[in-house]
C-alpha cells in the first residue's frame, strides 16, 4: 500500500522522552519490521516540537499528520492504519480546543508555532558576512523606501503609530524618542545603538548582531534620516568579539555597496557608523553612563534631565536605542504600522525576544508576540523543567527584574503586566528555576551582581545594596532575625526611591519580589533557621539513615575532614560538629543512606 517513501518523526525532546517516546520509537520500528517495511519507512527521533503539553507527539511525513499524546501501544495502529492503509488515526489527531475540529495537516497547525520572528527574521537564515543575502531578504529596502517615499516626519509617524517601545528595558515609546531628537535644533546629532548587553543570561542582542548585523545598520541609517543625523555610533561590549567582527564586516560591505557613506542611493543623504567598545561595566547600559563611557570617561550616570535626546554624546542631541529595537524598524517600514500594531497587546505591540535559560529543557532564543503567556514560553517552547523537576519561579528582567511564580504563569507577557507583578521586561533575560533553588540565595546572587556592578556614585546604591547583601548573607548563614527582614524591606524601598539611575532604582527588585512571593522561605531561614530548598550550606545537616547504611565505609573514606566514623559492616555516623557539609559522602553513597536536612 506504501506508494512513496514515508518518514515517522517521533519527538525526542526531554518532555516527550520522559513520557516514553523512546519506547514508541522501538515499537514503531518493530511494527515496521514485522510488516516488512523497515526499508521503506524510517523512524527518526527529533528535537522538541515545542508542544510538550500534548506529548509525546509523532509526525508523519510527507502528509504532515500530527499525532498527539501517543503511547507505545498506539504504534501498531499507526503502522497498520496510517502507513499501510493510508487512513489517519483519528483519535490521535489534535482537536482544536476552540473549533473542536480535528486537525489533519500540521501545515494548518500554525498554532503550535508560538514564536513569531520579526527581530530575528534573518538570524539563522542568512550568512551574516554576506550583504547579498541580506539584500535578497529585503535588507535596505526599508531605508530605500524611507529615503525616496517618505519625509523624515512621516517615518517618525509610522514608528509612532506602530506602537513600538524600547526593547532595552524601560519600554519608552520609540517613535516619541525619535520625534524629540528630531525636534531639537543642533549642528550635529548622533544616532547611538546600545549594544552593551550586560544582563547575565541575556544574549539576544549578541545573536542579532552576529546573525543579522545589516538590520541594525539599516535601522540606524533610517533613524539618522528621521532625526537629521549623519553619524551613528554602536556602543558594543568588548566581550562580544564575534559580534564586533561581523558588525565591522557588515559596515564595510554596506560602505562598499554604497548603502552607507555619502549620498546614499543618490538621495543626498549621508550616513556613517563608528564602533565604540564597552569594557565591562553593566551600568553602561544606562544611557547617560553609556554616553560618558563613549566619551572616554568612567561610566557614571548623570541625573536626567537633560535627556540624551537633548544633550547627549559630546553635548549634542543623541538618540539611543537598543539593538533589538533597531531590528524591528525595517519590517515596520515595509509592512506598515498597522501590521505591527496588530501583533501584541493593547499597550505592548509586536514581539519580544527572550533568552530562555536556567533549569528549562530548551534553552535558547525565542521570539514571541507580546501577550504570550509565561506558561507558553516555558512549557511549550521551553519544553518544561529539566529532569522532571517542579517549576518554582521565573526571573525576568535580569538583575533589575523580579521573580514570578506559578500564579503568574498565565500572565500575558507585556511591559505593564510584568511591572504590575513586581518584575520587568528588562532586556529579555528569562531564567527559569526549579524547586531545588533557594530563593533567598537567588536574590542574593542578583544583588551581589548589582553590588559588583554599582558605579558607586550615589550613596543608596553604593552602600545600601552592600548592606542588603550583607543582611542576606547573614540570613543564608542561619544567623538572620525577623528584624533583618524589616531592614531588608525598608532598605529595598529606600534604594528604589532614592537611587540616581535605573540600576539602583531597580536593584532591590529581586529581593523585594522574592520577599513578596516567597516570604515563607525567608521566614524559614530567619525563624526556623532552615533552608527549604536545602541549598544554604550553613543551614544543612547531613545524617546517615541507619536503615539504609550497610557499613561499606565509602563515605568515611571520602570525607575530607574525617567527620564520619563507624566499623565496617556497621552503621556509620556523621559528627555534625566536624562536618563541613561538602556533600561528598552523599555523592559517594550507593545505598541512599546519606540524607541532608
Amino acid at each position: 500500500m506504501v506508494t512513496q517513501k514515508m518518514n515517522i518523526m517521533v519527538c525526542g525532546g526531554t518532555g516527550c522522552k520522559s513520557s516514553n517516546s523512546e519506547l514508541i520509537v522501538t515499537e514503531l520500528r518493530r511494527e515496521l519490521q514485522e510488516n516488512g517495511l523497515a526499508d521503506e519507512v524510517q523512524v527518526v527521533q527529533t528535537g522538541c516540537f515545542g508542544f510538550c503539553e500534548k506529548g509525546p507527539v509523532v509526525k508523519i511525513l510527507p502528509d504532515n499528520t500530527f499525532y498527539v499524546t501517543v503511547t507505545p501501544e498506539d504504534a501498531h495502529e499507526i503502522i497498520a492504519e496510517h502507513i499501510i492503509k493510508g487512513r489517519k488515526v483519528h483519535r490521535l489527531l489534535f482537536k482544536d480546543p476552540v473549533t473542536e475540529e480535528y486537525i489533519n495537516d500540521s501545515k494548518g497547525m500554525n498554532f503550535y508555532k508560538k514564536q513569531l520572528r520579526i527581530a530575528l527574521r534573518n538570524c539563522g537564515f542568512i550568512n551574516p558576512e554576506n550583504i547579498d543575502e541580506a539584500i535578497a531578504r529585503d535588507g535596505y529596502a526599508a531605508l530605500a523606501k524611507c529615503l525616496t517615499e517618505y519625509t523624515p516626519a512621516e517615518v517618525v509617524d509610522i514608528i509612532k503609530k506602530s506602537g513600538l517601545r524600547g526593547r532595552g528595558g524601560g519600554g519608552f515609546p520609540t517613535g516619541l524618542k525619535w520625534e524629540i531628537t528630531a525636534k531639537v535644533k543642533a549642528d550635529q546629532k548622533y544616532v547611538i545603538c546600545n549594544a552593551d548587553e550586560g544582563d547575565p543570561g541575556a544574549f539576544m542582542d549578541r545573536s542579532i548582531l552576529e546573525g543579522d548585523p545589516h538590520s541594525v545598520i539599516e535601522a540606524m541609517a533610517i533613524n539618522g534620516y528621521c532625526t537629521g543625523s549623519n553619524k551613528g555610533l554602536v556602543y558594543i561590549r568588548a566581550e562580544y568579539p564575534l559580534a564586533i567582527e561581523r558588525l565591522k564586516i557588515a559596515i564595510n560591505q554596506a560602505h562598499e555597496s554604497g548603502l552607507l557613506g555619502k549620498d546614499i542611493l543618490g538621495t543626498g543623504f549621508d550616513f556613517d557608523i563608528e564602533l565604540r567598545y564597552g569594557a565591562g561595566a553593566f551600568v553602561c547600559g544606562e544611557e547617560t553612563a553609556l554616553i560618558h563611557s563613549m566619551e572616554g570617561k568612567r561610566g557614571e550616570p548623570t541625573f536626567k534631565p537633560p535627556f540624551p535626546s537633548e544633550e547627549g554624546y559630546l553635548g549634542k542631541p543623541s538618540n539611543v536605542n537598543n539593538v533589538e529595537t533597531y531590528a524591528n524598524i525595517s519590517p515596520i517600514i515595509l509592512k506598515g504600522s498597522d501590521w505591527f500594531s496588530s501583533i501584541g497587546t493593547e499597550k505592548s505591540k509586536g514581539t519580544k525576544v527572550f533568552a530562555l535559560a536556567g533549569n528549562v529543557n530548551n534553552v535558547g532564543l525565542v521570539e514571541v508576540p507580546m501577550g504570550t503567556t509565561l506558561r507558553e514560553v516555558i512549557f511549550e517552547i521551553g519544553g518544561g523543567i529539566r529532569n522532571g523537576k517542579k517549576f518554582k519561579a521565573v526571573q525576568t528582567g535580569g538583575p533589575s527584574g523580579g521573580c514570578l511564580t506559578v500564579k503568574h504563569l498565565d500572565l500575558p507577557i507585556d511591559y505593564d503586566n510584568l511591572i504590575a507583578s513586581g518584575s520587568m521586561m528588562g532586556s529579555g533575560g528569562m531564567i527559569v528555576v526549579d524547586e531545588d533553588t533557594c530563593m533567598v540565595s537567588l536574590a542574593k546572587f542578583y544583588l551581589d551582581f548589582t553590588v559588583e556592578e554599582s558605579c558607586g556614585k550615589c550613596s543608596p546604591c553604593r552602600i545600601g545594596n552592600k548592606r542588603m547583601s550583607e543582611i542576606l548573607e547573614t540570613i543564608t548563614k542561619g544567623k538572620g532575625t525577623p528584624e533583618d527582614l524589616d531592614r531588608l524591606r525598608n532598605l529595598g524601598e529606600v534604594i528604589k526611591d532614592t537611587s540616581l539611575c535605573g540600576l539602583g532604582q531597580t536593584s532591590p527588585n529581586p529581593v523585594l519580589s522574592t520577599m513578596a512571593n516567597f516570604m515563607n522561605e525567608y521566614e524559614a531561614h530567619v525563624i526556623d533557621h532552615k533552608c527549604p530548598a536545602g541549598k544554604c550550606r550553613d543551614l544543612m545537616t547531613y545524617r546517615i539513615e541507619a536503615e539504609n547504611c550497610v557499613g561499606c565505609t565509602a563515605c568515611a573514606r571520602v570525607c575530607p575532614v574525617s567527620a564520619i566514623s563507624g566499623e565496617r559492616k556497621e552503621v556509620h555516623t556523621i559528627d555534625t560538629s566536624i562536618c563541613i557539609k561538602c556533600g561528598a559522602c552523599m555523592e559517594k553513597c550507593k545505598f541512599n543512606a546519606v540524607f541532608v536536612s
Binding site: G198, D199, P200, G201, A202, F203, R206, S207, A238, E239, Y240, R276, Y277, G278, A279, G280, A281, F282, S293, M294, E295, G296, K297, R298, G299, E300, L314, A355, A357, G358, N359, V363, G364, Q395, G398, G429, I431, V433, T437, L442, F445, Y446, F449, C455
Partner: protein, 160 residues
Amino acid sequence: MSSIQIELHENQVKELVEVCRSFNNDPIELINVLHKAQGIFGYLPAEVQEIVSRELNVPVAKVYGVVTFYSFFTMLPKGQNPISICLGTACYVRGAEKVLDEFKKKLKIAVGETTPDGKFSLNCLRCVGACGLAPVVMVGDRTFGRVSPDGVQQILDEYV
C-alpha cells in the same frame, strides 16, 4: 609613579604611541586606546597608563580612574592560560559556583590571582552568551561547556 618599575619594550612603547596617534590623540578615545594598549602589553601597568595619559593629555589619575572602573581592564599580568568561569545567571543556576570552587581548590589560588608558576590565572566573568552550554568555562579563547566539578581536573590536565 615617577620611578619606572618595569621596563617596557621600546617597540611596544612605539606601537602604543602610534595607536594614540591613530586616534588623533583625542581624549574621548581613551577607552579605545586602553583596549589596544591591553592588546599590546597584555595588561595595563602604571607605566603604560602614564604614556596614555601623556599622549592623550588626560590626567593620569583620570586614566587610572577609568582603568579601575571597567572590569575588562587589568593591571595584573594574566597567567599563560587565563581561566574564566562564567557566573552569568544561567551558569549560576546550573552549578557554576561549584565548578569555581573546584578550580580554586585545585589551583590553590583565589579569584583574580595567578598560580606561582604563572601557568594559570583565575577569573570570573558575566555571561559569555553561551547559556545553552551552562556552566561554561573559558581557558584562553577556548570554551568548555557543560563543565562539572569532576571535569575540572580533566581541563587542567590539557594544559600541563
